[in-house]
């Protein structure tokens, strides 16, 4: 049984198929990369999985259970958490409160304040933001805001974490740190699906890669297979010499 599975997942915006009959699966403990040119439907697929949007038609299963049409907060409490392409932090709240909201509401209802606070500090510690706990979230650097989103998502105790372009807009050092963070999250036993344009990161941390183009899945395989696939190179990676750099 796959931890996450989609069958014929489709989403139209007007007449345009943003995601078209995509079948996918994610195995427990895997790191799956989701790549494709801009407008390929990657974020839409994330929105469908996290229930911001409902597929029509199509079915999404989580641990064998049909979760299509559930509300986002339920999806989160079941164990699927996400971050956003453009950071959606609670800008005027201190860093700690941002994460606390995750640990309070993202797990089972009836979480005590003491437990929630402990979980929140632990998440902050894990991503390395403990020292900034009292800072308003809007005062953080972009790199730290992205970490904060990860900490908030982790505080909800997910089994599957969806990372939407965690590394976009970060400098080289920050990208390396983010890659390290992804690996550490994986080592905690959390399954990861990540959208990423930074090829080095994708090739480095993913076990398997899915390629979308115009809303359709055009390829799937190990980083090596994807890097050498003619079709993928044609639509996305460009000249072979650049692949993987």
């Amino acid at each position: 049984m796959y931890v996450l599975e989609g069958k014929g997942v489709t989403k139209y915006f007007g007449g345009l198929a943003a995601v078209s009959e995509v079948d996918f699966y994610v195995e427990q403990g895997e790191v799956v990369g989701l790549i494709g040119p801009n407008g390929a439907g990657k974020t839409t697929l994330f929105n469908l999985i996290s229930a911001a949007l409902v597929p029509k038609p199509g079915i999404i299963r989580y641990k064998g259970k049909n979760i299509t049409g559930l509300k986002p907060y339920k999806i989160c409490r079941m164990g699927i958490s996400r971050t956003f392409q453009t950071v959606k932090i609670f800008a005027n709240l201190p860093v700690f409160q941002n994460v606390l909201a995750g640990s309070f509401f993202g797990t089972s209802p009836g979480m005590s304040s003491a437990n929630a606070a402990r979980e929140a500090s632990e998440s902050l510690e894990f991503v390395g933001l403990s020292a900034l706990a009292a800072t308003p979230a809007k005062d953080l650097t972009l790199g730290n805001q992205k970490r904060l989103e990860v900490a908030r998502a982790l505080a909800t105790k997910p089994e599957v974490l969806l990372l939407d372009e965690l590394m976009a807009g970060l400098n080289q050092t920050e990208v390396d740190e983010a890659m390290e963070l992804v690996k550490r999250i994986r080592d905690r036993g959390i399954t990861i699906v990540m959208i990423e344009h930074v090829m080095k990161a994708i090739m480095n941390v993913c076990d398997r890669i899915v390629v979308l183009h115009h809303g359709e899945k055009i390829a799937e395989g190990t980083p090596q297979e994807i890097a050498t696939s003619k079709k993928v190179i044609e639509v996305y990676l460009g000249e072979p010499a650049n692949a993987g750099s």
Binding site: S50, A52, Y73, S81, F90, A101, F105, G106
Partner: protein, 322 residues
């Protein structure tokens, strides 16, 4: 977890000031003139509406203009149960009914419309006021054939203490909600609703419940205010002024702290009263000027000004907002 932060000098000072004001209010009818009691009742009326408005709109960021609707429902509860032909129920029970009726309507309306965002929600809630007013108008004209209704006279001190009781309740409710888990959920919604829903917050439920709680206090306030008006009709009860004034008062006072809307409402209502009697010809003009100046030079309201002054006095120490 925030307990430690409150054991500061500031905590004691606010505590003492609150206590003095509270004792002053409770004993007012014993030393104040009748005029003062009535004036403070009016100030409390506006404070109640403004704080209830802030309870919902301040944290969630949803601009509601439905205040007049819930206020009016409370007023009509009094008209139904406290007619001059003989009170059907005790005043306090009617106040409770006014509050409950408002919150039931808020639950229904909220469940239907709180998916609307921004200006759409504001316009809808404003429409609600007009809709209820026109429906009631039609009903009174063609079904009940009553142009207006009369409500029994109630002792000024009873009105005052009821208003004060509602005020204390709405303040305590706001205080505890803001510091609770529920308040954190509301604040998250106000900051970023999409993110809030994706970290496990049942955004619809939080919004609808808060909307209903805030409507309860507006309705209760309306029910007791009706006994002060004594004559009501749909246009008096559902005057759109009561939708806009709380918003202005909240902005004027500043929403950063719980006492902001109270100070805003008190000063605003006092200004309105005095300007109206002293300069009845040009009072609206003066009022407008005061408002424009206030918004231009105090973007975070009176509270912003007080905070700034305070931090200057206490050596510029920055306090982390919780």
């Amino acid at each position: 977890m925030d307990i430690a932060r409150f054991t500061s000098k500031r905590f004691y000072i606010t505590g003492i000031i609150t206590l003095i004001i509270f004792v002053g209010l409770v004993t007012l009818p014993f030393f104040g003139s009748l005029y003062n009691v009535i004036l403070v009742t009016t100030l409390l009326l506006y404070a109640n509406l403004t704080v209830s408005w802030v309870l919902f709109s301040g944290l969630t960021g949803y601009m509601s203009l439905a205040t007049a609707a819930f206020f009016g429902i409370g007023i009509y509860a009094s008209a139904l149960f406290l007619p001059t032909t003989g009170a059907v129920l005790p005043v306090l029970v009617v106040v409770l009914i006014g509050g409950l009726a408002s919150s039931i309507i808020a639950l229904g309306v909220g469940a239907l419309t709180l998916r609307l965002r921004g200006i759409y929600f504001a316009i809808f809630t404003f429409g609600l006021v007009v809709l209820i007013m026109e429906l009631l108008n039609w009903w009174e004209l063609s079904v009940s054939h009553l142009l207006g209704r009369y409500v029994i006279l109630v002792d000024n001190n009873v009105i005052f203490y009821t208003m004060l009781g509602i005020f204390v309740l709405v303040m305590l409710t706001t205080f505890f909600i803001q510091r609770s888990k529920f308040g954190l959920a509301m604040r998250s919604i106000g900051e970023n609703e999409e993110a809030a829903s994706h970290i496990g917050i049942n955004v619809t439920m939080v919004k609808v419940i808060t909307f209903a709680i805030s409507a309860f206090f507006m309705g209760a306030t309306g029910a007791i205010w009706a006994t002060k008006l004594t004559y009501i009709n749909p246009h008096v009860a559902f005057s759109v002024l009561f939708s806009f004034l709380p918003v202005l008062m909240a902005i004027f006072g500043g929403m950063g702290q719980i006492y902001g809307p109270v100070i805003g409402a008190a000063i605003f209502a006092y200004l309105q009263e005095t300007l109206q009697t002293e300069f009845s010809e040009i009072y609206m003009l003066l009022f407008g000027v005061v408002l424009v100046v206030a918004i231009l030079y105090m973007p975070s309201g009176l509270v912003g000004l007080i905070e700034k002054t305070w931090s200057r006095i206490s050596g510029g120490e920055r306090r982390v907002r919780t």
